[in-house]
Structures are given as C-alpha cells and as structure tokens.
Symmetry: C2
Subunit: 303 residues, 2 copies
C-alpha cells in the first residue's frame, strides 16, 4: 500500500441543470481513492452506517482499494449530503447535511496503513487531521484539503496542521479567505509561509494553479461541452495527482506538474456523469489519451 | 501601414482597490494601437474633442501610431468614462458615461489606411463596424470585439458583421449571452457557426480560450501580485495579438497561439499601472522575457 486517505464516504443527492441523482455514492475519500486507484494502492479510512450497501463495498474493492479502515457502525446511518448546482457549476448550494455516523468520526489508522509513504487528509476537522498524523510513521509526503467552515471555525488547528503538511490543496475563495488577502498571488505567499512547500489552488472550470517558493504552474481545465455533475471534482483531482506521485515515487516539481495534469484529467472525466459512474468505467488508455489532449490544449511555440 | 484600428479614444476616471486616476488617457483604440505598436505600423481611426491635449497626440506619435484618422471635432468634448473596480477585478462598474463627440462618430477611413491587410474593429456600434468594412479593400484578416449593449441592442447588425470577420474576440459572459447557451464550449460552437473561423473568449484573470472548428487553445493569465487597473486589458490583449500577426504575416493556428501569448503579455503589463503608463515605458526585451515566463508557467512534460 502506498497511499492512505482519510475522509468521508457519503450518500449524495445532487441536482444540476442536467439532471438529478438520489442517494448515490459520494464522499471525499471515495472520489479520491477511486481516482488514485488507477496509479497506486490505496488504503481508505472512513466511517459508514449499517445502511451502506455491499455493492458499494465491492465496487471499491474492484478498484483494488483496501477497506480495512472503513469502519461500519452497527445501527448507524451513513453521512448524507444534498446539494444543487446552478449554471455556475463552480458553486455548490448545500440544501441539507446529515452527518449521522460522521459526526463521531475519530479515525483509527489500521497498522497495515501506518507505513504509507503518501498521505491525503481530505476535508475533515483539522483536529482529526492532526490526530491522523500522530498515528502514521513519518510519511514521505502529506497533502491536505480543507474548507471555509474549518478556516472560520478552527483556524488554530488548521495552522498547526499546515506546519506538518507538504502540499495544501484548496479552492480559490478559500485561499483568499484563509490568507485574508484579495490578491491570489499574495494569498499564496502568505499560505506558503505557514508551512507547506507547495500550494495548489483549485479554480473549478478555470483549472488550477500550483505555487511554491520560486515558481507558479498553471494547469487548465479540460473544456467540456457539458459538465453533468461537478461533485467530487476536487477530490478526483487530488486522487489523480497523489496517485501519480505515489506511483512514480517522485515529488520533484516537474513530477508535481505532471501529477497536476493527471489530476485534471481524472477530474474532467469525473464530472462527465453523476456519482462515480464515469470513473468506474474509465480505462488507463483513456487517461493517457486525455493527458495528451491537455498537451495540445496548452501548446504554443517558443520564440 | 499594416493594421487599421477603429474604436474609441477617451478620458477615463478609474477607481480600483489600489488607487484612482482622474481623466487619464484611455479608449479601446488607444490601448489597442499602443500594444500593437511594438510589432507593427498602426493607423488609428477615432474621434476626439477640442479638449484632447497635444501631449497625448505626441505620446501616440512617439509609438509610431499614425493619427491621420484621428478626427478632432472643433468645439467638441472627448468621450469620458468613469468606472470603479472592486476586488473582483474582472467586473467593471460603470459610474458615468459621457459620449460627447463619440455619439456622432461615423468613421471615415483615410485613403492611406484602406489597403491595410489587418483590421481590428474595436467595440463600437456594429453598424459602424460594418461601414468600416465597406471602406476597406479586401483586408486579409479582420477581427472584431463587441459588448453586451450591442448583443442586446443590435443583434442583427452584429450577426451580419460576424459573417465578414475572421476572428471574434469577446468576454466570457458575452459569449454565453450572445449564444444563449450556458456551456462555454457549446456557446463557442454556436458562435463559430455564425461566420468567424476563430473565436477568442477572454476570461480576465483566468486567461483566454481560442476555439476553431477543430481545436481549443488555453492561454493562462500571468499571475500578478497586484493588478492596479484592469482597464484596457482586453484591448491591449487584442493589440498584442494582432500586432504580432501583422508583423509575421502568418494567420495559421500555431501563429495565432503565439499571438495570444503576446497578447496576454501585453495585457499583463498594461494592468500593472493606470492608463497607458506601463505600456509607454515598456521595452521589447521585457515583452520577450515575459513570453518566456509564460512558457515556464505552462510547461509540463510529455508522458
């Protein structure tokens, strides 16, 4: 096993201009691990209720995802999220959140996962993210995500966490909010001073930017005719990126750039259908072929 | 002379989070021609009042811009625009527009300009843009801009115009509005069906996309720490692009891609200061060096 992910497994009910889906498989750890599974062996730590169906378990197993860390609470109900997207697909409107078993989530990392060289802390309470880091044995590369709720509610735990991660992956508005600086470049510098050597700012349909102390990399989003459901795009992106890094064992900047493109590829496939539908019938050939399309999409000659 | 531009020359009063400027030189034709002047010989057609100072004339002359087509109306007042930008610098809030002499603008193209192979019709009434095309002698490459005001007010003239241009350059929201399609890729296809062989969609701080029948090119914006004044970014972009095309005489896709990067370079310098301040003290060396930075900003390895 080379990647550990800690996050949510959920049932999502989603409405977009293109249709709707009721109580389909979702959650940050689900999207992340499915995307990463194309490149690496993933161990998943999350919690579900007794209502979590066997078909979802076997679908994740089919992708080679290790579920020893998936805690099934007897008599419990799985986390549910209900949301709607308007034509501006960058913005999710949360209609309802039922935390259920997720409200008592206290991740215990199985022994078999503790040596994982790559760790992804999906968007959960930063105090829990810190507790995960206490259980693992000197991972080589740690990345984390967060959201405005934690930036506002637990800024100190988040700052403590940032001292201990290599890569911080967040949305553009969250980057500005966290840093309290309207300029994105200024916000990036402020965030890098908090600890992580690399920051990735996700901009939805505008792609993503990667900042480190000396350079910036701009990755476009793949121009899709129709984005059916943007849910999970950020976690699929992180999964593709981390999966590729773990696969190659190279965390240098050039490889991070390639990883960002693989992440963008995975995210672009994911939004082509509801839930994990598209990722489940995705092949490595399709991934490679879209990577090459990203090359053509961005190519211009030297002067 | 190899480029003709028809558009506005104005006095702008602008407020941004970084400061303000009162009655400074602005206008689409001014920004366009100054940016294009680094690469090509530009003839400018516009109208100003008697209040237009000699210092502005000599500044434009210094850049080698031909002003035979700049009509100075005796007793008239120059077009004035007053606007404000919030932290979201992609959105201009117009506080006041005084058209003055611009309200009777009826462009007459000087004989010496009528053979220009490259023509840029900046954002003016599409009926006037059409009248310009009636006066020129079979230009090799015509590009035009427009705005929501004309999309809503003169859709038929605009459609007539689009049949006669090679390149249409507009903002993202305008592209969606014109096509009546929320998906940008879908909107692009609808617009290309109206006539132009190439469409460029400007996305402000997110860069620009170029669409033709068979491919898409994504150009990033240069990540600046501080954007002092976004006024004129779109016209500087078009000026850099068209100037480069006219300079090289090559309108193939590869060269259009290079042109878009030169356009992005010019736009990125322009927003570093109010009015045309930065473009006036810009050198070709700086332009080339930032072009190379765009290369580094977007580079990732093949698989």
């Amino acid at each position: 096993m080379n990647i550990l992910v800690v996050g949510s497994v959920a049932f999502d009910s989603v409405e977009t201009p293109f249709g709707k889906a009721e109580e389909v498989l979702g959650g940050s750890a689900t999207y992340f691990s499915t995307a990463a599974s194309f490149f690496a062996d993933v161990g998943l730590v999350a919690v579900v209720g007794e209502d979590f169906p066997e078909e979802h378990v076997s679908m994740l197993n089919q992708k080679g995802i290790d579920l020893e860390g998936l805690n099934r609470v007897p008599g419990g109900k799985t986390f549910r999220w209900r949301g709607r997207y308007e034509y501006d697909l960058n913005l999710a409107h949360t209609l309802k959140t039922e935390l259920n078993v997720f409200s008592d989530f206290n991740p215990t990392i199985p022994q078999a996962y503790r040596d994982c060289p790559f760790v992804f802390l999906a968007n959960i309470d930063p105090e829990l993210q810190l507790r995960v880091l206490e259980q693992v044995k000197g991972p080589r590369f740690v990345a984390c995500d967060t959201m405005n709720y934690w930036i506002e509610g637990k800024p100190e735990a988040l700052r403590e966490l940032l001292k201990r991660v290599d890569l911080f992956v967040i949305n553009e508005t969250e980057a500005r909010e966290f840093a309290g600086v309207p300029s994105l470049v200024g916000a990036a510098r402020t965030i890098l001073e908090c600890g992580p050597s690399t920051l990735i700012v996700k901009r939805g349909e505008y792609g993503a930017l990667m900042f480190n102390a000396s350079s910036v990399f701009s990755a476009p989003a793949y121009p899709l005719e129709e984005i059916y459901d943007p849910t999970g795009a950020g976690d699929s992106f992180a999964g593709g990126l981390m999966g590729y890094l773990a696969n190659t064992g190279d965390t240098g900047e050039d490889n991070l750039r390639k990883g960002m493109i693989f992440g963008s590829v995975l995210a672009s496939f994911n939004v082509e259908a509801f839930s994990l539908e598209r990722l489940h019938r995705l092949s490595l050939d399709e991934i490679h072929s879209r990577y090459k399309e990203f090359k053509r999409l961005t190519h211009f000659e030297d002067i």
